[in-house]
Amino acid sequence: MPIDWIWGLIGGLMIGSAASLYLLVNGRIMGASGILGGLIDGTGRDTAGESLAFLAGLVLVPAALVMLFGPAPTHLTPSLVIVAAAGALVGIGTRLANGCTSGHGVCGISRLSLRGIVATVFYLIGGGLSVLVFRHVLGVI
């Protein structure tokens, strides 16, 4: 749809504003994999309280918005094997690389961090190759 990019831009500005708020008020990097991963493996014990509060907002508010304004289909593949494999790859990869789309992409690129830029280039290459192979070569997604 032609108006999709406008929603993309508005949503993007909201994401960037959220990251700005978390940085300027709490002094923290808004990286989704870092916040969750720190809670899971215990490396983020010192900031566990604000991490949990952050995740509560992240999970509850979109669910509430969907209840108020109607469904937002995720179109996630029904294959639980693919979903589990993808989840494992995302979990391993983001912890090895120390960040994902929000931490490296949004927070890293915006401060011209070399690591953020390099990570973003490589996860885009990985994602492009993944869709190429699994959709166009193997035809499983």
Binding site: G49, L58, A84, G105, V118, S130
Partner: protein, 143 residues
């Protein structure tokens, strides 16, 4: 106070992910589908997110501490190791395979059905396994 503002930031992040279409795996896979029906929406999402954050980093550079008193995170040394490259490629492979990255996976947990919960469980397992894999990769890299 820290918890309140963290909740606020998480809420705005989640609302933004929902608004932008990042929780729609079809759109994400369309963005990564450079050799098929390419969907440029995510370029606007990333661009729109980087704009306010670039301003925020400039504001932070002029302040000694954040509003709630903690220091700003230091800029990481510009060193690119094998874990950054390998990890990003692996993350990208999973991102393309299901069309979900960690933020949108959590944002859609409340309305995305059981598949989304399975994704989060597998992601958590991967996060727990990652340090052991990292040690193995480091040994191979220095061998």
């Amino acid at each position: 106070m820290r918890g309140f503002f963290a909740f606020l930031a998480g809420s705005l992040f989640g609302a933004g992910l929902l608004t932008s279409g990042m929780t729609n795996t079809t759109k994400v896979q369309g963005w990564l589908d450079v050799f098929g029906a390419w969907d440029p929406t995510l370029a606007f999402v990333l661009g729109g997110a980087i704009l306010p954050m670039a301003v925020a980093w400039r504001v932070a550079a002029q302040r000694p501490l954040s509003t709630l008193g903690s220091p700003f995170p230091a800029k990481p040394a510009p060193t690119v190791g094998h874990n950054l490259v390998i990890g990003s490629l692996v993350f990208g492979a999973g991102w393309g395979l299901a069309g979900l990255c960690p933020g949108p996976a959590m944002a859609s947990l409340g309305f995305g059905g059981w598949g989304g919960a399975v994704f989060i469980l597998a992601m958590g397992a991967g996060m727990i396994a990652a340090p052991r894999l990292r040690a193995r990769i480091d040994r191979l890299a220095t061998a």
